[in-house]
Symmetry: C2
Subunit: 602 residues, 2 copies
């Protein structure tokens, strides 16, 4: 097909526009405008986040069913990629609990945890979700995330957190247990309860206790000692490091490994090798649905944290740029031995509170984790898995928000239904089924609600030109005219309801000659509603009644003129409801006159 | 759990209410109030419908992949069941083209056409769809059918009709061809084209020609002869019978069977034996999705015909009773050797035009078909399948409405997209995929549209208490106040859009101190939108801006009071936008005064 000159000009304009946008984006990039006075603050934030991130990244790798180093690897390149391409100044990217759980649920359908195939599939999952996020960025599809309603997300996170906490019990008890829902997990744990290892249980519960105390009690304790705020903060954040160090030393010196305590074991020292993910098409196809869900959940989690933090500095988050940042972070994870990552809530808040000013904090964190991978890994050999499990449990318990159930119940039964269904499906079936159930149910419930719009018969407020609901106000009505106001746009799911309602009103008032549809609140009439209005016109005509419209909005009227509706309308279109009233009052008075007088008058 | 007395009373009341409703329904039943003067009209209608139904029922059985007698059986008991339980006085139930196609598509996934298993599975499909319809009646789920938008239904019927017409080409050509979409069918027909049987082709095209002519030309021709209206009507309707008789005699006397013309062959004489359908759970499970789609499509087709006809007599259709009627018709079909049935469009119009007054016409039609099954079946032995195929093609070609595509394109791009996607998916993939694609797409497009609601910044029309869009009218505004009117209910899919839009407006006007959200057009705020408003309040507060509401509707306000939103609102809730204007104008004037004057004034 030859390209004509106007198309060529259009293409040139588009190209030019994109060039301009890209050059503007580059010249505005934080890295090229970095001010050295922000350096110390960014470095301080990076140190605090690193202290928090090292045990978390090891733990989340464990949760995802991967070797511990995968957690470190997922916290190096992805952080750099996000810092370069993302739009938030404070978001701390890396492995997070919910996405790690989703990774485990998806990949263990395909491979056995602990095998090379399993890790390979996790890389494919990260690559697929990276590409999906980039595609969403290019096609500007960030709005899709809006279809995850708040109650569904909140229910999903609460249920996932419960599932994660229960899944970690096996490490606290030192037993074997598999499963991706409460039923399977519970059965397995119960059956293997007798194989509990006492040393593991002691280490685990002690870690759990100390971690909870540093979260809740330590801060109050230090404040009574009047310790400086920064020190208090640092000590509270260092709680997990303290536990990691103490329990590792305990295993080492009490030789608990030989007594059956599961430890992290050998972690290869050094940086990850860069590799391309497996390009087996079948594998990609199998992981695609999970990758879509992980992308969406990850994006929603990130963007809400990022927006909250940006607002505190009167800054803006660009959802499409956020997609770009998260997409490249996941691709970076896929080529450097990681697994799917996203922006973590608590981690980002810590980064913000610690005073991070620019994304350089993220790059410095990545460098610090890289150093840890090179230097510290031998020290993790004796780290008990029970400690990591305790770290996870403490982190996810903070995500459980059962009070939201009650709040939602009080506010809206429909939202509560969607939320409860999401929670129950996640717990009893699994994470993927849970998200899908929640989304579909919330959409259906929304449609159900708009499918019965508020409809009021209105009459004239005496002495004015205003019309009000006849059931609530003292208003004038005409015997042969029904004035109906609909408070919703008309579309396929509510149009039959309206058609039946008006038709019923007419059948109940056999003296009716005219029906006026007051369209002041109708922003849109879709093709189904248009046909339904045509059908209503015909049905009313068969019953000897004319249909009129009043107060049709400009855009709606423009659309109606594109159709044959106005040609077939038996009545008129009135600019205002008061004009309709006057005209139909005159008509009904004329109709009541005897024929001969009528003919002279008309 | 013991039942307390209030529950017992409630149960007793419910039971009593149901008893009353049932006894009222029985005493109002048409059969107990039958007036003998309606008898002749009902009988006449029954005769005309029977003449039309006999070739159609044989043909649709063929289309469904079943032996011809299944079509007769599906036109006996089901008609009686519908007459007793349905709500339409004119609907003629039986095998119809689209549902027969869907039956073939579903059952041939499970069994080979022509086998006993195939017929058995069709019975299960009828039973399952009967039970689904009854369940929908009991749970009052008739509204679910509203989620099939008109463009999707219209596109589905057009595409199915094309598919059916193409699928019958094999019978016109006397060749073999399989497939449930255009690609498979087309390939098969093209590959077997050389095996075309000339005699079959001649019979088929001749039948087709005569049938089209009786539809279009005959009526005009008879009217020029000034034949009486009733005779004209009868002759036009008898066209198919004429073709059936002529081609059967041609096969018989020219011995075309030995020349390769496919004929109907032996049909067992007599009424169907009553049997219970196969109760194999696996089979039911496999057919369930198809049964759901068949129930919905059948219900939608029936109810729209029934409503159109009822309106012509100023009568009402009760959707739930309609479900009951169609459900029992399908169960009756399932126990008497039939296949899924529903209300047919052309057949019902014929019934109505022929003067049917009550459902007795349906019972008489059933009796006439039963007589045909007992007496006439030997006469169908030499009936060529090509004639039946021609009957089907003529019937479905009338369903193809490509002009709807153009109409819909002109009126609404979103509706056109859903329609075109439905047509293409039906043609290229199959009927089930087509319905599902259409429904999901139309819901997504609707959500997409409401996800960007119309939002206007408004100002005061000078000298009035009215507020209008600042972009369209000359209005007063206050420098430190933004008044925003949203023309849509707030829910999960549009709430983030609104949050961002308002926040952006505030960032663009840094002198802003107050934002007023004018809620006059907001009928509902769901839990997601509530959280979003809370978040917006916080974000604006962090930016030094107060959020106010005005003109909140009663029900919305009641809901807000159930939540903590009003406690955390930084601004006020004003009854009218004019009150908000006055209060904020005063506030901005006070703010502008020097501090010492302000303190004396305040």
């Amino acid at each position: 097909m030859p390209i004509d000159s106007s198309t060529r000009q259009w293409l040139a304009r588009q190209l030019n526009r994109n060039k301009l946008m890209i050059s503007k984006a580059i010249s505005n990039h934080w890295l090229l405008n970095y001010q050295s006075k922000d350096g110390p603050a960014d470095l301080m934030a990076a140190v605090i986040v690193t202290i928090m991130l090292i045990p978390q990244s090891l733990a989340y790798a464990l949760l995802a069913g991967l070797p511990p180093q995968a957690g470190l690897y997922a916290s190096i390149l992805p952080l750099g990629a996000y810092a370069l391409f993302g739009s938030s100044r404070f978001l701390a990217v890396g492995p997070v609990a919910v996405v790690s759980l989703m990774t485990a649920a998806a990949v263990s359908q395909i491979a056995i945890p602990g095998t090379a195939e399993y890790w390979g599939a996790s890389l494919v999952l990260a690559a697929a979700s990276g590409l999906i996020l980039l595609l969403m960025a290019i096609l500007r599809l960030g709005w899709i995330a809006n279809y995850l309603s708040h109650p569904v997300i909140s229910g999903f996170i609460t249920a996932s957190a419960i599932l994660i906490a229960v899944s970690q019990l096996k490490h606290l008890l030192g037993i074997q247990a598999q499963g991706h829902n409460l039923i399977d997990l519970g059965t397995d744990i119960f059956q293997n309860l007798e194989t509990t290892n006492t040393y593991t249980l002691l280490l685990g519960t002690a870690s759990l206790g100390v971690l909870f105390w540093t979260r809740k009690g330590l801060k109050t304790f230090l404040m009574t000692l009047q310790s400086p705020a920064l020190l208090t903060d640092l000590l509270t954040k260092a709680g997990p490091v303290l536990v990691v160090v103490t329990t590792t030393l305990a295993v080492l010196f009490a030789d608990l490994e030989t007594k059956g305590v599961q430890i992290v074991g050998h972690i290869p020292q050094g940086l990850p090798a860069l590799t391309l993910p497996n390009l087996n098409l079948q594998l990609w196809k199998e992981l695609l649905p999970a990758a879509i869900l992980i992308s969406l959940i990850g994006f929603v989690e990130s963007i809400s944290v990022a927006q909250t933090l940006a607002a505190k500095r009167r800054q803006r988050i660009t959802p499409d740029k956020e997609l770009l940042g998260l997409g490249s972070a996941n691709l970076a994870s896929a080529i450097s031995g990681g697994f799917p990552v996203t922006g973590g809530f608590s981690r980002s808040v810590v980064n913000f509170d610690a005073g991070a000013r620019t994304p350089l904090a993220g790059i410095l964190t990545a460098a610090a984790i890289a150093l840890a991978a090179i230097l510290l890994t031998p020290w993790f050999y004796h780290l008990p898995k029970a400690t990591l499990a305790a770290t996870i449990i403490v982190a996810v318990v903070a995500l459980i928000d059962l009070s939201a159930l009650k709040r939602t119940w009080n506010y809206s039964r429909a939202d509560f239904t969607a939320m409860a269904a999401t929670i129950l499906t996640v717990l009893l079936v699994g994470v993927e089924a849970g998200v899908i159930t929640g989304v579909l149910l919330s959409i259906l419930l929304f449609l159900r609600q708009t499918s019965k719009p508020h409809v009021a018969e209105v009459g004239l407020v005496p002495g004015t030109e205003h019309f009000r609901n006849v059931d609530r106000h003292r208003v004038e009505t005409l015997e042969t005219v029904i004035n109906v106001r609909v408070d919703e746009s008309l579309y396929f799911a509510n149009t039959r309801f309206l058609e039946d309602l008006i038709y019923d009103k007419v059948l109940q008032q056999p003296q009716t000659k005219d029906v006026v549809l007051v369209c002041a609140a109708i922003n849109h009439i879709d093709a189904s509603a248009l046909e339904s209005l045509e059908e209503l016109t015909r049905r009313l005509f068969d019953a000897g009644v004319q249909l009129h419209l009043s107060e049709v909005k400009g855009p709606v009227m423009d659309r109606l003129k594109q159709s044959a509706f106005l040609d077939n309308l038996t009545g008129k279109v009135f600019l205002s409801q008061f004009q309709a009233w006057q005209a139909l009052k005159l008509k009904s008075e004329n109709d009541r006159l005897p024929d001969n007088i009528n003919s002279t008058a008309g």
